[in-house]
């Protein structure tokens, strides 16, 4: 009985190794590694009162209720040995959230916004949306659908940059 058991266990683990190998191979063929590593992190921004002054702190976004603010940070790292240029980061404003005015930031970047699902972009304050009456009105931050950052210059090998924006949960 004991021998039998061991045999089954060995067979099982062998099967696992085979499966993993097959998986890795498929991945490598279908999708070669790119030059950048892109990471999106989120944190909840909490407004707190500290000695009578309003300030804020960041906590894990484990508990988020309507009306609360979440900050997204997108890190991009050049993991290749060649400089990367013409870098554009596009982030759709998550569903159920509203972009918080003036919250888009990022070193050496220029940010533009879209109100039409990412087809056209423009600087904040220049965008217009069509009202129910057919007339054009200045877009509100709640009309924004996408943000796009353009990184000015090249990202040197083995360096990392980040952009960030905040939203309020509806």
């Amino acid at each position: 009985m004991k021998i039998n058991n061991t045999f089954i266990a060995t067979a099982k683990s062998l099967l696992g190794v085979v499966a993993t190998l097959v998986f890795l191979t498929t991945q490598a063929v279908a999708a070669p590694q790119g030059h950048l590593k892109v990471t999106s992190k989120m944190q909840k921004m909490e407004i707190i009162n500290k000695g009578g002054k309003q300030t804020y702190r960041f906590i894990p976004a484990a508990k988020v209720l309507p009306g609360e603010i979440v900050q997204y940070n997108t890190f991009y790292e050049n993991i290749s040995n060649k400089p990367a240029g013409n870098i554009n980061i596009v982030n759709a404003i998550p569903k159920h959230t509203v972009y918080l005015p003036n919250s888009a930031q990022g070193k050496n970047t220029q940010s533009v916004f879209s109100v039409d699902g990412g087809r056209h972009y423009g600087k904040a304050g220049t965008l217009k949306v069509r009202g129910r009456d057919g007339k054009l009105y200045p877009a509100k931050p709640s009309d924004y659908t996408h943000i796009r950052w353009h990184y000015q210059g090249n990202l040197a090998p083995r360096t990392k940059q980040a952009v960030a924006f905040r939203v309020r949960l509806r």
Binding site: Q27, A31, P32, Q33, G34, H35, L36, K37, V38, T39, S40, K41, M42, A61, A62, K63, V64, L65, P66, G67, V70, Y72, T74, F75, Y76, E77, I79, S80, K82, P83, A84, G85, N86, I87, N88, I89, V90, N91, A92, P94, K95, H96, T97, L155, V163, L169, R170
Partner: protein, 353 residues
């Protein structure tokens, strides 16, 4: 015409019964909703455009659409409710909720981001200084809606409470008030004042295993929930005001006519045989009170006297109306109504035998 008016009133009543729940847009994103975020980066190397790379929470290097993973959080359950009262209902001592529909009205709003069940409790003997509470009503029950009531996020439900009003007494007088508190509780959660996280739909509260935390966000009520911030309770009070008729009866008499040797005496008059006595019985209803209906005044003139002519009743010095008298000396008025601030006068003239 009368029948037509009644019909209209009836249809209005039916309508109001149907629309006791006002549907509104949900407040906030529904609990349990996953909010996803993915960034996408395009770039070039050596002047050659590369396949864009999507983000993941741990870092993604594989180019191509669909190879990233969304950075996701799940919207938590915000438990929040609001009871409003501050309505007044006029009642008469001795009215009962079951027979007389002594309705007090409140509203209950689900201000949370999930559909919840609520129970409601009406309390009449408040030991709280939340307003004038001259007397206690009894046997308060929530007559609408049926409990527990299920309310979607953002919806408002009209609540009706009926109590019994005690009989009139030294404290149950015209203008006296009785506060009735309505307390609403969210069912299925444990009231726990101030707790940031009180539960979890699955997993352990305040840990990553908790997918949807339950957070109390309700404010402090004005009745039994005084000081009860964030406890899944909320309360408010409405008021019964005694509005009954407040009658005062006064009877005076004076010699109105006296003759001696066939000549009328103009000076002092005396209660001598043959003299005419005028009895004046005055009934007043205090200003601000309710109208009294079906008042019947009766008076028995002593049998040593004879009633002259027909006694009359005059309201607010209006034209006198004759009253019937049961037997010659027993005077009984017809039923009449007396509004607040009005006075009725029954005048009986009788001669001394």
């Amino acid at each position: 015409m009368k029948i037509k008016i009644m019909k209209t009133l009836l249809s209005v009543a039916v309508l109001s019964a149907i629309t006791s729940t006002a549907s509104a847009a949900p407040i906030g994103t529904a609990a349990g909703t996953a909010v996803d975020n993915t960034a996408s980066i395009s770039y070039s190397v050596g002047g050659q455009n590369q396949t864009p790379i999507e983000s993941s929470e741990t870092g993604n290097t594989t180019p191509g659409t669909g190879n990233g993973t969304a950075t996701t959080f799940v919207v938590d359950k915000k438990v929040d409710l609001l009871v409003t009262g501050a309505t007044t209902t006029n009642v008469v001592p001795g009215q009962t909720g079951a027979a007389d529909n002594t309705e007090l009205t409140y509203t209950l709003t689900n201000e949370g981001n999930s559909t919840e069940d609520f129970t409601l409790t009406a309390t009449d003997n408040l030991a709280l200084a939340v307003g004038t509470d001259d007397f206690n009503s009894t046997g308060c029950t929530v007559t609408a809606p049926a409990l527990p009531v299920t309310i979607a996020s953002g919806d408002v439900v009209n609540v009706t409470v009926e109590c019994d009003i005690p009989a009139s007494s030294a404290t149950v007088t015209n203008g006296a008030k009785s506060l009735v508190d309505l307390l609403a509780e969210v069912t299925g959660v444990t009231a726990s004042s101030g707790a940031d996280t009180v539960g979890c739909i699955s997993g352990t509260p305040n840990t990553p295993s908790c997918v949807t935390d339950v957070v109390f966000a309700d404010g402090t009520g004005t009745g039994t929930d005084v000081g009860g911030d964030r406890n899944a309770w909320h309360s408010a009070t409405s008021t019964y005001i005694i509005n009954t008729a407040d009658l005062t009866v006064k009877k005076t008499q004076a010699v109105s006519e006296m003759t001696i040797n066939g000549a009328a005496v103009t000076g002092n008059k005396y209660h001598i045989p043959g003299a005419e006595i005028t009895y004046t019985i005055t009934v007043s209803n205090v200003a601000g009170a309710a109208s009294a209906t079906g008042i019947i005044l009766s008076d028995t003139v002593p049998n040593t006297m004879t009633v002259v002519g027909t006694p009359t009743v005059s309201i607010d010095a209006g034209p006198p109306t004759d009253v019937t008298s049961g037997s010659s000396n027993s005077v009984t008025s017809l039923g009449f109504d007396l509004n607040a601030g009005s006075t009725a006068v029954l005048t009986i003239i009788a001669t001394v035998n």
